[in-house]
């Protein structure tokens, strides 16, 4: 077992983990944050996407020990002071989710991408989300949601 210290959604967690423990299992099983879902075992689907130091990572592709000393944000930490992130609001308003299983990962990938590119084109959003699979929405409204969120965030920072 290896001791690690990880900041998750603003809280510091000290834990002992098996070296083989994946970050996603650490989050779900040791911290008890089950909002991050596991959709595959090949790092293909992106359902487990979280932010590590503000950038998106697939939490099935990061070992818990690699997160030692790092700062992780999961879907549970996306809202601030009870107010949803613009991406959460946009997914709701644009019907960017159906079963909702891919949604936490899809939103975290979107949050990360909009930091990189605050005013993307539709085509850019589609390419940026290539690593996140959804089987329900046909992506149409996910793309719409991300574009809507980008506009809102731009308006908010301009205002």
């Amino acid at each position: 077992m290896k001791p690690i210290s990880v900041n998750v959604n603003g809280f510091q967690h000290e834990a002992d983990v098996e070296p083989r423990t994946l970050l996603v299992h650490f989050l779900r099983e040791q911290i008890g944050l089950t909002g991050t879902n596991i959709g595959c075992d090949t790092s293909s689907c992106g359902a487990c996407t979280v932010l590590m130091n503000g950038r998106s990572v697939k939490a099935c592709t990061v070992l818990a020990v690699q997160a030692d000393g790092q700062s992780i944000t999961t879907v549970e930490g996306l809202a601030e002071n009870g107010e949803w992130h613009a991406v959460q609001r946009a997914f709701h308003e644009a019907h960017g989710l159906q079963c909702g299983f891919c949604t936490p990962g899809m939103m975290m990938a979107s949050v990360s991408y909009l930091k990189e590119n605050p005013s993307p084109s539709e085509g850019e959003v589609r390419l940026a989300l290539e690593g996140n699979l959804c089987r329900c929405t046909g992506y149409h409204n996910i793309v719409k949601a991300v574009l809507t969120a980008a506009e809102e965030m731009a308006d908010a920072s301009a205002g």
Binding site: N37, D41, G131, H140
Partner: protein, 787 residues
């Protein structure tokens, strides 16, 4: 509707979303119980093998392992094998299907042993220590090999690998072909697909040993059906079984089943007296969750010289896989009435043979029989158009059934509502067909290597499963009704209890809209309860685009009964006859005396206190309705896609996709469009990307998301949707269903577009999926022929 429609027809944002966008949903994998044990399954790596011995000794003593079992060890747990509810013919061959096989492994993934341990990793580690002595045998993985005279048999007790042959005929098919000027004969392959719901399957079981009770949380579309079948499989009284489908992450038919791991976890919980949990890895799920499609089709059209179709003759071979899962034999039948599509004719003959192979069982996948049927007719009519020398639109218009109600189809069904030409015209308008054709011609004449293709599909489907008596005639093992209970709470809100079991479709939102309008209360004052057999005891669940047109109608009817009772209470309070009252916006007022009013909320309170009720009236304001539809519903639509084919690489890019669907009355247009979007992508994926393949020895080559290509956002444009609204006559709300329309309509539209782009080369067909190498090869072959 008893009152003005305020919510029905509006795109209100979904009530389901808040917990899903904040990580507060409860998917089965997130459920943890005290003292819970974890189950892992050892699976055959061979397509066909005799099992000589299962050595569990090393696994049993591994760290964290509580127990291990072979198939023999568990043989006494089963009152019956895994259930199959649709024996389509009297002489169908139904193999034994045990949750853990005993002496023969019949596909890669067949369960051979099980480990119970204190953690998931301990259980999985121990599976690696199980030593099975397999005697490998020759596998048969495809239909032609399985039907060969000397084919090894998947089930040694059977004389051949044929499961059943089912036929359906209407009219004089021989006469139709005898007088035909043109006979078109086409053969198509429906590749095997993997449903790939984003949430892998999982199950948690909590036993109460002292009471003999079991609570099962499962990633299921069918908690009510599963409860009955768990009970029968395990010999546990149904009343002691509670099944809960909590938040379920997509299904598409893959969770419309009773699976080995579900009954296995119940059996292990009974045996060991502790809670059990099993969660599929994605790759494990690809082996052990049903696949879809995998059919070989031959379709013949008899037509006059002007392209008017007289008759349809179809022969289908359907791969069942190694065992029969819940409704597998019936899946081809759901398409068996629709090989005539939206078109007329005087005769119809359909024959389907189910075939066993050493592969993962095949069962209902989004559309279930109807995408296959639609593909065949929508491709074959293009062949007819070529033969006659008319345009894709013209051939369809010449053959469309007339607009109307209860229109007889060549297969002998009565289509509730037809309006195909107007629907297609709308799609042509959105597309701007003439301009697109002009651009297509320009590119071709300029010698462009990026050619345009325009592909059509004018589908009709069959949903709203189903009139129970029709199901009886098809030998299906259950009814087709659904149930709702609506109760007004004393504080004025309404609880809607539904028998449907949503897993992404937004029933909570749509049912709230229906109830809010019918009861005249606010949308936010409606709560919808579902998916727990203790809370919602009656239901037939969610599949086949049935929920709205059966369960949603039941909600509406139950609401109307609540209003009827509230009216008698209001009449009593107001000291008038119920006939003197009118009901609007949740208020009962005396006709002509608008200030004499009682609200439905006041009546809910009055019914609860029961202080002043009419003579003989029971307290409470609640009603139950079970709706058994008189007919199926038949949604239809026109899908048109424009593709760009790169003649140098064979790459196909989807440039535009126009879908004009008609699902009758619409409750929530945003949800309807979402269903169409998702359906289109699954259907296009079948046309362009997805295909599950087996090696000769029975190894699933596409065993993970690495090599089974579920497409991403990058492969698609945004879609252009419109609609026509032709209410159904099969239910009082005029609703039809939209869950599968996109998948049914889209696949042939894409292939038709590719063929259309390459038609000048003499290319008349491209097999699915139309991967670049396949398209490129077809172009090379055509050029070779030309030179």
């Amino acid at each position: 509707m008893a009152t003005a429609e305020k919510f029905v027809g509006g795109g209100v944002p979904r009530k389901e979303d808040p917990k899903l966008v904040t990580g507060q949903a409860t998917f089965v994998e997130s459920i943890t119980l005290p003292d819970m044990l974890h189950v892992a399954v050892a699976r055959s790596p061979f397509g066909s093998a005799q099992i000589n011995n299962v050595d569990l000794s090393a696994a049993r003593t591994a760290p964290g392992v509580v127990a291990t079992f072979s198939g023999e060890d568990l043989a006494d747990e089963w009152a019956a094998g895994l259930p199959m509810a649709w024996p389509v013919t009297e002489d169908i061959r139904i193999p034994d299907h045990w949750p853990v096989t005993k002496d023969v492994a019949r596909y890669v993934g067949d369960a051979v042993a099980v480990v119970v341990a204190t953690s998931p990793s301990a259980a999985k580690d121990a599976v690696e220590l199980i030593e099975v002595d397999y005697e490998v045998q020759t596998a048969v993985v495809d239909i032609p090999s399985a039907l060969a005279d000397d084919a090894p048999r998947v089930h040694e007790s059977m004389e051949s690998n044929e499961c059943y042959t089912w036929t359906h005929a209407n009219g004089d098919i021989d006469a139709a072909f005898a007088k035909a000027d043109i006979v078109i004969t086409e053969n198509y392959v429906q590749p095997r697909l993997i449903p790939s719901a984003m949430e892998p399957r999982a199950v948690v079981v909590q036993p109460v040993p002292a009471a003999g009770d079991f609570t099962v949380w499962s990633t299921t579309q069918i908690p009510h059906v599963a409860k009955v079948l768990f009970s029968l499989t395990l010999g546990i009284p149904e009343a002691q079984m509670r099944v809960i489908a909590p938040d379920v992450g997509g299904g598409f038919g893959s969770k419309l089943n009773v699976y080995a791991e579900e009954v296995l976890c119940i059996a292990l919980a009974r045996r060991l007296g502790k809670p059990m949990k099993w969660v599929a890895d994605r790759s494990e799920g690809y082996l052990a969750t049903i696949h879809g499609r995998d059919q070989l089709q031959e379709i013949e059209l008899a037509a006059t010289s002007d392209g008017t179709i007289l008759g349809y003759r179809v022969k289908l071979l359907a791969n069942m896989g190694a065992y029969l899962q819940l409704v597998a034999p019936g899946v081809p039948l759901l398409g068996g009435f629709l090989y005539c599509g939206t078109y007329g004719g005087e005769a119809y003959h359909f024959e389907c043979t189910g075939v066993f192979t050493n592969t993962t069982p095949v069962d209902a996948y989004r559309g279930a029989g109807r995408p296959e049927a639609t593909y065949a007719i929508e491709r074959a009519i293009e062949a007819l158009a070529l033969e006659v020398g008319v345009d894709a639109v013209e051939i369809r218009k010449r053959n469309f059934l007339p607009a109307g109600e209860n229109v007889p189809s060549p297969a002998g069904l009565a289509f509730d509502s037809t309006n195909y030409e107007e629907n297609l015209d709308k799609a042509l308008e959105v597309l701007d067909y003439e301009a697109t054709k002009a651009e297509q011609a320009d590119r071709l004449s300029q010698g462009s290597t990026k050619l345009l293709g325009i592909g059509f599909s004018t589908y009709v489907e069959m949903c709203g499963l189903a009139p129970s008596q029709v199901l009886a005639s098809l030998n299906y093992g259950a009814g087709g009704w659904d149930a709702a209970t609506v109760r007004m709470l004393p504080t004025g809100q309404a609880e809607v209890v539904t028998g449907s079991s949503p897993h992404g479709q937004g029933h909570v939102t749509s049912w709230s809209q229906i109830a809010a309008d019918a009861l005249g209360i606010d949308y936010q004052d409606v709560t919808v309860l579902h998916g727990d057999t203790h809370v919602a005891p009656h239901g037939m669940n969610t599949y086949g685009s049935r929920s709205l047109s059966v369960a949603g109608v039941a909600v509406n009817q139950a609401c109307n009964r609540v209003v009827d009772k509230a009216k008698t209470l209001a009449a009593h309070v107001l000291e008038v006859s119920p006939d003197d009252l009118e009901f609007e916006d949740g208020k009962f007022s005396v006709k002509g005396v608008p200030d004499r009013v009682q609200s439905i909320q006041e009546m809910a309170y009055a019914a609860w206190t029961a202080h002043n009720l009419p003579e003989g009236t029971e307290p409470g304001l609640e009603a139950h309705c079970v709706f058994d539809p008189p007919n199926f519903t038949f949604p239809f639509g026109s899908h048109v896609c424009v593709v760009e084919v790169d003649t140098e690489t064979g790459a196909v890019e989807l440039l535009r996709y126009v879908a004009v669907d008609d699902c009758g009355t619409i409750i929530n247009p945003v949800i309807v469009e979402g269903q169409v979007h998702g359906g289109i992508v699954q259907g296009v994926a079948a046309a362009l990307f997805e295909e599950a393949t087996y090696a000769e020895d029975g190894t699933l080559e596409t065993s993970s998301m690495i090599n089974y290509l579920v497409p991403s956002a990058a492969e698609f444009p945004s879609f252009e949707l419109d609609r026509t609204v032709t209410p159904s006559t099969s239910n009082p709300m005029g609703v039809k269903g939209i869950g599968e329309a996109g998948t049914i309509g889209s696949t042939p539209a894409v292939i038709n577009a590719i063929v259309n782009a390459l038609g000048h080369l003499g290319i008349t067909d491209i097999a699915m999926p139309a991967k670049p190498e396949r398209v490129w090869q077809a172009i090379q072959d055509a050029n070779g022929d030309a030179s």
